[in-house]
């Protein structure tokens, strides 16, 4: 077999391997994608219309399970506790009404998938930039996820004090 054929064969094998990985992503990859989607859904710009804001707030709830428990306690800010998915759009609309723009990101995420691959924990750095605020919010958050009907949904969100 001449080298161009070997090269072609290597290329085909590489492409097949890439296609396999792309079509069968690991739970960790799916969870990271879900976190990116959550950050995108939670963010909004200054020029968003009322309808887009409403749609964004409704879409945000899709990342959470029905009985989600959210406890956000950031020093210097009001504490928030939510006990079900139905409360999320209302809170999201409240945030959208009170600030001009809001940018959420999870720049550092460590995912631990539990045995059985039906639940997982994502320990992440939450970064929020609010229009008009000189300092961004940076906080460690612990997010529990559960695989429900083939989709990774957030079951619990809790802020963590990195330094205790």
């Amino acid at each position: 077999m001449k080298w161009p054929r070997l090269l072609l064969l290597a290329l085909v094998v590489g492409l097949l391997a890439w296609a396999w990985v792309a079509l069968h992503p690991s739970p960790e990859k799916l969870i990271r994608k879900q976190m990116d989607g959550l950050a995108h859904a939670a963010s909004f710009g200054p020029n968003q219309g009322a309808l887009a804001k409403l749609a964004g707030a409704e879409n945000l709830a899709n990342f959470f399970s029905t009985n989600v428990e959210i406890k956000i306690d950031i020093p210097g800010h009001q504490e928030h506790r939510l006990m079900s998915r139905s409360e999320i759009p209302q809170v999201a609309m409240g945030v959208r009404a009170s600030v001009r723009s809001w940018s959420v990101a999870f720049p550092d995420v460590t995912v631990i998938v539990n045995a059985g691959q039906e639940s997982a924990v994502a320990d992440a750095t939450l970064q929020v930039k609010i229009a008009g605020e000189p300092d961004m919010i940076v906080q460690e958050v612990n997010i529990s996820l559960r695989k429900i009907n083939g989709q990774w949904l957030i079951d619990k969100v809790e802020t963590v004090r990195t330094l205790q």
């Binding site: 550092d108 750095t125 970064q127 300092d135 961004m136 990195t162």
Partner: protein, 181 residues
């Protein structure tokens, strides 16, 4: 003729200065250098921008620094070191660097007891000399006993109420590296 020759000579010298005698070799060298810089500044010496005032006056808001990830390869952190601390659990596999870190000073080492009494740090009951602390405070805290793998961190600027200053203990595995500047 002389003018043309000297013009060609200058152009040739400029070209050699810019791309070298052998452009292919120069390109390869530049690519290798870029790759080494990329790996070095992504995994070893992390460039960071200080945000906030908790390390003032040692580090001003928006100042630039580097975190050396190899600093604690041969020895453990020392008291007084300024270190980067990650805000998420360290990855179980890989050596990925965090994008966001706390920059704090180590004041308590494993096994020690740390407490603030009238703004002075006491380690195992003894007052700690802190030449870097230029702005005195009036903090009082209960003593915190550190585990065998825990360190205690605080910023240099303690002028704000203690509730607004992020300080406390965490595990050794969260220390990313030592601030260089």
């Amino acid at each position: 003729m002389t003018d043309t020759q000297s013009g060609t000579g200058l152009g040739s010298r400029l070209r050699i200065l810019a791309v070298g005698r052998n452009p292919k070799r120069t390109l390869v060298r530049a690519a290798i250098l870029a790759l080494v810089c990329l790996v070095f500044f992504k995994f070893v010496l992390l460039p960071v921008r200080v945000e906030g005032f908790s390390m003032a006056p040692t580090y001003a808001n928006h100042s630039v620094n580097f975190v050396n990830r190899l600093a604690y390869f041969w020895h453990e952190p020392h008291r007084g070191d300024v270190v980067g601390i990650r805000l998420n659990l360290p990855p179980t596999n890989g050596w990925s660097a965090p994008h966001i870190m706390y920059l704090k000073r180590v004041i308590g080492l494993p096994g020690e007891s740390v407490q603030f009494v009238n703004g002075r740090v006491r380690v195992n009951g003894q007052a700690l000399e802190e030449p870097y602390e230029k702005r005195p405070c009036d903090w009082n805290t209960d003593p915190v006993t550190l585990g065998s793998n825990e360190y205690f961190f605080v910023g240099d600027n303690r002028t704000m109420p203690k509730e607004e200053h992020t300080f406390g203990k965490t595990e050794r595995s969260r220390i990313v590296g030592k601030a260089v500047l």
